[in-house]
């Protein structure tokens, strides 16, 4: 279970602290998915990064299955991310020097029980429809394909929390639709907690729970 309680985030600026998030609370159970929308600069990505243990909050807490990642040492924090969290970014962020399979396997380099991961990676690649592109480099893939590889990479270690930052933001409509469908299908199959930050209303519409980030806080969409 993901528990975000009274979360606040401020950035120091020459004109004083800039509040991006204030008293944000959110609770999601395993298998739940939520889409967060909101205007640019509202703090959607900040919320995502805080939830993903990449950026500490100024106040409040984040716990995943009872563990607050910000209360562990840096090395354990990295291990926590590796074990529990998967990320998909807007521009896929694949390693250009590695093949599709290698990109998917990158997180396994710092994970335990290495022997099973190659099979798992191949399965995921097959699930995203790229089983015939295993040895291709990212430069040989389309934008949609890259995002599918990024999705496989995010899920390879069976994370409990999958965080997507504008996963279809750089894609054409067809590709976006394909990636969105894939995302939700894999989410269902993996029973992860899924949070997607998006500007895309079509994508957001596919989620049962939707929030809008306005005035530094979350509001149910349409409320």
């Amino acid at each position: 279970m993901l528990e975000i309680a009274n979360l606040g985030k401020q950035y120091p600026t020459p004109r004083g602290p800039l509040t991006v998030l204030s008293e944000v609370s959110l609770s999601l159970n395993r298998g739940e998915a939520v889409a967060i929308t909101g205007p640019s600069g509202a703090g959607k990505s900040t919320l995502l990064y805080i939830a993903g243990a990449l950026e500490p909050p100024t106040s409040g807490s984040v716990t995943l299955d009872g563990v607050n990642p910000y209360k562990v040492a840096e090395k354990e924090l990295a291990a926590f991310r590796n074990r529990n969290i998967g990320f998909v970014f807007q521009d896929s962020c694949l390693l250009p020097q590695c093949s599709v399979l290698e990109n998917v396997l990158v997180p396994t380099l710092v994970a335990s029980g290495r022997a099973a991961w190659p099979t798992r990676a191949r399965e995921l690649i097959a699930q995203v429809g790229l089983e015939d592109r295993l040895d291709h480099r990212p430069s040989e893939l389309s934008g949609g394909e890259k995002q599918r590889v990024a999705l496989a990479r995010a899920l390879v270690l069976r994370p409990r929390l999958l965080l997507c930052d504008e996963p279809t933001g750089n894609l054409d409509e067809a590709s976006a639709e394909m990636v969105a469908a894939l995302l939700l299908r894999l989410h269902e199959r993996q029973e992860t907690i899924l949070i997607v930050v998006t500007h895309n209303p079509a994508l957001a519409a596919r989620f049962p729970k939707r929030y809008e980030l306005r005035h530094a806080n979350l509001h149910p969409a349409g409320a």
Binding site: P14, E55, L77, A79, F87, L95, A111
Partner: protein
């Protein structure tokens, strides 16, 4: 997927950046390894020269006097030669060399050294190629060779023949020796200027038939044997295993109760008996080698100038010396030998006095014997007269008698002294009192038939000779006319060469000679064995570790290469910032990522180091080429060659790996500080950093403190200010880094102002560029301030200096001295004469380690008036020169050295005590940039105590009237040509030392310039990288109407700013660092050359940036905008 798979992918994908990093490491490795090779090569070259020139010679037996050629047979295999230094003149070309090595050799030498062709015969002379070149000599030319004429009787004693110290021999050039067969007993990196003359001819002309002064032996006696097969290939440490063992003084002999107390020398004295051939390394004692032991078994008394005579009346053995004087060490051995055989030994000192005078009556030129036998008076001031003398003088018991006599003092003048005695008794001229054998053999006197035939080496007034004196001579010859007590006689007539003329042993025993031989260490009588090969090899380790020096000289180049390595690595990391962010988001810890990059860096460092081995060979060869050509003055030889060795290359490679890895680690140090989100956004540098201001301030304060300490004298000015300047440079770079990292509100401005704002785009890169340029400017600007010119206080106000190959015995300042030397009057010219102990050149002109440096004896008057500048003094005496007359509690001999020689050649410190050739010295003061760089200076008193056998003066400083130094030098060179007297301007001597220093500075500057080249490469790389990374920004400007030249100006302004920041920072810090050096030169700064140099740096930097910018801007920028 394994970590190494990712590693391999990274290395291959980013191959351009990685190649640049690899080349940076390779450059650093090449420079480090090359410097190590250089040190190895110099040492190997010096060793090679030693081994080639010594040929098959391993050890030698040597003596300043001559000894039997037959001794060679007793030490088989050994080759007898005469080794001297002399003046050589070609009669056709009139060219002259005043310090040539002269070897008297025959077939035995030729065979021993396996030389091709025939040895010189009859009137032939063979010149080494270098000497032949210098003299422009051709086969058939007539050569005048002037060599010191050996004299058993010390020149600085009454009977020494001061007018016959040299012998000129005319010979004909047969041919030049092949360059590879230049024999030399003295390690030297320069050409060997030597002549080979027939041994028999030299023996004949020197009146030394069957005698030589040197024996060459093979290596079997040397403590360190080395086969010819391994010559030049062995490691320096082999030479280092040789240790010299001094034979302890024969203290036991001196403590025998029967030894007369007056003969106990200072304990240290027997250790410093030194009478070696001038061509061999001076040494004080035996080395304890097998040759030493064999020599001790095989030498005869004749080999050390001693003989025994059996006398009938009285029946005794008379031990006498060729020098007519028996030294204290020999005397002690004789007493010990006599005592061991139960014999009685009676020491005698016989002297020729000018007059015995009683109440106005006198007897001229009488022999007087000092002794302690029955003939001796009981009282110290008593005298026993024979009845002939008493009658001639009208003397009665109780009468006062004046003895008037000549003494030759150490001031190079003959003095007439007188001593008062009282007649204690008169003895008949019979029995023991009628013994002409009490007097030694005096050449020119003893064999004369009459007084009128006397030919003594001192003035003789024949008008004082009366018929009765002639009758006495005719009948009694050298029979003494008076007897005094030995102790009194020794006080009056004893010299540093000895205080006895003979020792009589009663009864005569044939066993005495053997016992004396056994009791006497031949080295104490001047006959020594020298492991010349082992000692030369030790010296070949060099005064200077060139490897270490070139690491220093190349320091900036190494730093530049590493900065460049760091810069490229940093560029590589910056290029992969988002990738790092992704890895962090995927669960890679910062330390894991750092480990991954470190692993990459390690692979590149290892690969770079391997590539650097080749670069090391190239760099070593290039620098050696430089040393043989452009920087020849630094080493003075063109014989240096590259000697590659696996350890040197491995050391360079290992250092390269460590340095490369260190640089990579340093570059990665900031990775922790950046949050993953920042990395994902492409940010790598953390901001802002107050620590930079704080650290910069702390370093600046440290610089100020160091400068203050230098001003107050707590640390050396030059070192203090240089350190302060360097610290200030670091502080300035930290301030600039802080300024570039700080967020500033945007300021409106023109195109240039917009460009300057780009400097902040990647502040880390900008600071690295500034650091590269500033360091180069700092080094180059600093070096010019240390360059020396001829103007210096190091001449002490003297206009000329001169070395004399043959010693001058007379004082050229006195009229009598000038007359004896055939010198014309020289108004206004004043000589300061120094005694000289030949030895190794301790200056920067000698690459070999000076193990026994030249020693100069400064006369007392000089010590009280010398006007040289001191760099450091042990204590605060008003006149540091007088410290030479102090007596340190440790018993060490106070010595003054030039600061450069002390530090870089002798590797000693002010106040340090050290032992050299058996003598313990203490450096009491260090001269600043003086002409005394080749030697240690001691007081004359200490010199004569340490080196009693040294005779005359061989080094001179001259004051001349203004503008007269040239004519005076020419006059003296002509008048004293027979002495090899070679006056030269003191400024020229200093200039020769300065040339070496300046050559080193040129080397440093050239290597600094190479570093600068790397700096400009870095600047160009950064420029290109910045343009590529900002293509979208630049494309936007194009879209907004900027033309390509606008963009060019914009980017170039940014680079020019970095360049000017670097140059101004480096130059300003250098100004502080070199302030004392500039002040010492009278505030003279080579502004023009410095400005030209800095302008060149600026132009080069701007040109390289412009080229890089032009290349980068050539790409179609608008496509970048489209991809946005």
């Amino acid at each position: 997927m394994r970590t190494y798979t990712l590693l391999a992918r990274n290395l291959a994908w980013y191959w351009r950046t990685n190649l640049a990093v690899l080349l940076g490491v390779a450059t650093a490795t090449g420079v480090l390894g090359g410097a190590a090779l250089l040190g190895q090569s110099v040492r190997a070259t010096l060793r090679g020269l030693v081994l080639d020139r010594l040929g098959n010679t391993g050890s030698i037996v040597t003596r300043s006097g001559f000894f039997r050629e037959e001794l060679a047979a007793a030490l088989q295999p050994a080759v007898p030669v005469i080794a001297l230094e002399g003046v050589v003149e070609d009669e056709r070309s009139l060219s002259r060399d005043a310090a040539a090595q002269v070897y008297g050799v025959d077939e035995r030498f030729w065979k021993f050294q396996a030389l091709p062709g025939e040895p010189p015969r009859a009137h032939e002379i063979i010149l080494t190629a270098a000497l032949a070149r210098e003299l422009e000599a051709r086969p058939g030319d007539e050569i005048l060779l002037r060599v010191p004429k050996p004299s058993a009787i010390p020149l600085e004693s009454l009977h020494g023949r001061k007018d016959e110290i040299g012998k000129t021999i005319r010979l004909t050039v047969a041919r030049s020796a092949a360059p590879l067969h230049e024999f030399s007993l003295r390690p030297q990196q320069g050409d060997v200027r030597a002549v080979y003359v027939p041994l028999a001819r030299l023996q004949r002309d020197l009146n030394q038939p069957g005698k030589v002064n040197t024996l060459l032996t093979r290596d079997r006696y040397s403590p360190s044997r080395e086969s010819a097969k391994t010559r030049g290939l062995t490691t320096p440490s082999q030479g280092a295993t040789v240790s010299r063992q001094s034979t302890p003084p024969r203290a036991a002999a001196w403590t025998e109760p029967s030894v007369p107390s007056g003969f106990r020398p200072v304990r240290a004295l027997p250790l410093v008996v030194s009478t070696e051939s001038p061509l061999t390394p001076p040494r004080a004692s035996s080395s304890g080698s097998a040759l030493d032991r064999l020599l001790k078994q095989r030498y005869t008394l004749a080999d050390v100038g001693l003989r025994t005579r059996t006398l009938a009346k009285p029946a005794c053995l008379s031990l006498e010396s060729d020098s007519a004087l028996i030294g204290d060490a020999v005397a002690a051995a004789a007493f010990s030998a006599a005592q061991s055989l139960g014999l009685r030994a009676e020491p005698l000192l016989t002297y020729l006095v000018n007059a015995l005078r009683v109440r106005g009556r006198e007897v001229p030129y009488s022999v007087v014997t000092a002794l302690d036998s029955a003939l001796a008076p009981a009282r110290e001031d008593g005298v026993t007269l024979n009845d002939w003398a008493a009658r001639e003088l009208g003397a009665r018991v109780g009468d006062a008698v004046t003895l008037e006599y000549y003494v030759w003092r150490s001031d190079a003048r003959l003095h007439t002294d007188a001593a008062q005695f009282r007649v204690e008794r008169v003895v008949p001229l019979a029995g023991d009192a009628a013994d002409p054998d009490l007097a030694p053999q005096y050449p020119g006197i003893t064999q004369s038939r009459s007084f009128r035939d006397w030919d003594p080496p001192f003035p003789l007034d024949l008008t004082r000779i009366r018929p009765s004196d002639e009758q006495y001579w005719d009948r009694y010859r050298t029979t003494p006319k008076a007897f005094v007590r030995l102790a009194r006689g020794r006080r009056l007539w004893g010299t540093r060469f000895g205080g006895l003329t003979s020792i009589r042993v009663f009864p005569p025993s044939p066993a005495f000679a053997g016992a004396l031989r056994a009791a006497l260490d031949p080295s104490q009588a001047g006959l020594t064995a020298v492991p010349v090969r082992a000692e030369s090899l030790k010296a070949a380790e060099g005064a200077t570790d060139f490897g270490e020096y070139f690491v220093y000289f190349s320091f900036f180049l190494i730093v530049s290469a590493l900065l460049l390595t760091g810069l490229f690595f940093k560029l590589g990391i910056e290029q992969r910032t988002r990738e790092i962010g992704v890895l962090r988001s995927l669960g890679f810890s910062a330390s894991k990522i750092r480990a991954l990059f470190l692993l990459e860096g390690a692979v590149l460092a290892v690969a770079g180091s391997v590539a650097g081995v080749g670069a090391a060979l190239a760099y070593g060869a290039l620098v050696l080429l430089g040393l043989r050509t452009w920087w020849f003055d630094a080493v003075g030889t063109r014989l240096l060659s590259l000697h590659a060795s696996v350890p040197s290359l491995a050391m360079g490679a290992a250092a390269g790996v460590v340095a490369g890895l260190g640089t990579v680690a340093w570059t990665l140090r900031g990775l922790h500080a950046v949050a993953p989100r920042g990395l994902l956004a492409g940010e790598l540098e953390s901001r802002p950093a107050r620590w930079r201001w704080l650290t910069g301030s702390a370093v600046a304060l440290l610089a100020a403190a160091l400068a203050g300490a230098a001003l107050s004298g707590a640390v050396g000015q030059a070192a203090g200010f240089f350190g302060a300047g360097a610290l200030l440079l670091v502080a300035a770079l930290l301030f600039q880094s802080a300024w570039l990292h700080a967020r500033r509100p945007a300021a409106a401005g023109g195109l240039v102002a917009l460009g300057l704002r780009g400097v902040r785009y990647r502040p880390g890169r900008a600071v690295l560029c500034i650091a590269l340029i500033a360091s180069a400017a700092f080094v180059i600007a600093s070096l010019d301030a240390f360059r020396r010119d001829g103007a210096s206080a190091g001449t002490g106000g003297f206009q000329l200096y001169a070395n004399a190959e043959l010693p001058l015995i007379h004082d050229p300042n006195s009229e009598s001295g000038r007359s004896a030397l055939n010198l014309p009057p020289l108004p206004g010219v004043r000589f300061v004469s120094f005694r000289l102990r030949p030895g190794d050149d301790a200056s920067c002109l000698n690459l070999y380690q000076p193990r026994n440096p030249r020693i100069l004896a400064a006369p007392p008057a000089f010590l009280r008036s010398a006007g040289f500048t001191f760099q450091g003094v042990d204590g605060h005496p008003p006149n540091p020169w007088l410290l030479l007359e102090s007596k340190p509690a440790s018993g060490a001999v106070p010595a003054i050295a030039d600061a450069n020689s002390m530090t870089y050649a002798l590797h000693r410190k002010l106040g340090e005590e050290f032992e050299m050739a058996g003598v313990r010295y203490r450096i009491v003061a260090a001269l600043q940039d003086s002409l005394f760089q080749s030697e240690l200076i001691v007081s004359e008193e200490n010199f004569l105590r340490l080196f009693p056998d040294s005779q005359g003066y061989r080094f001179f400083l001259l004051n001349t009237p203004p503008g007269q130094s040239g004519p005076v030098a020419r006059t003296l060179a002509a008048a004293l040509a027979d002495y090899g007297f070679d006056p030269q301007p003191t400024g020229a001597l200093l200039a020769s030392y300065h040339k070496v220093e300046n050559a080193y500075l040129s080397t440093f500057r050239a290597l600094g310039a190479l570093g600068l080249l790397l700096g400009t490469v870095g600047l160009a790389a950064v420029s290109m990288r910045n343009v590529l990374e900002r293509r979208r920004e630049l494309a936007l400007l194009r879209a907004a109407g900027f033309r390509r030249r606008h963009l060019f100006t914009l980017v170039l302004a940014e680079n020019a700013f970095l360049l000017l920041m670097g140059l101004s920072t480096g130059a300003a810090c250098a100004a502080l660092a070199t302030a004392p050096a500039v002040s010492a030169r009278g505030g003279h700064v080579p502004v023009t050359s410095l400005a030209a140099l800095l302008a060149l740096v600026a132009a080069t930097g701007i040109a390289s940036s412009a080229a890089a910018t032009a290349v980068a801007l050539r790409a179609p920028l608008l496509s970048a905008l489209k991809s946005e």
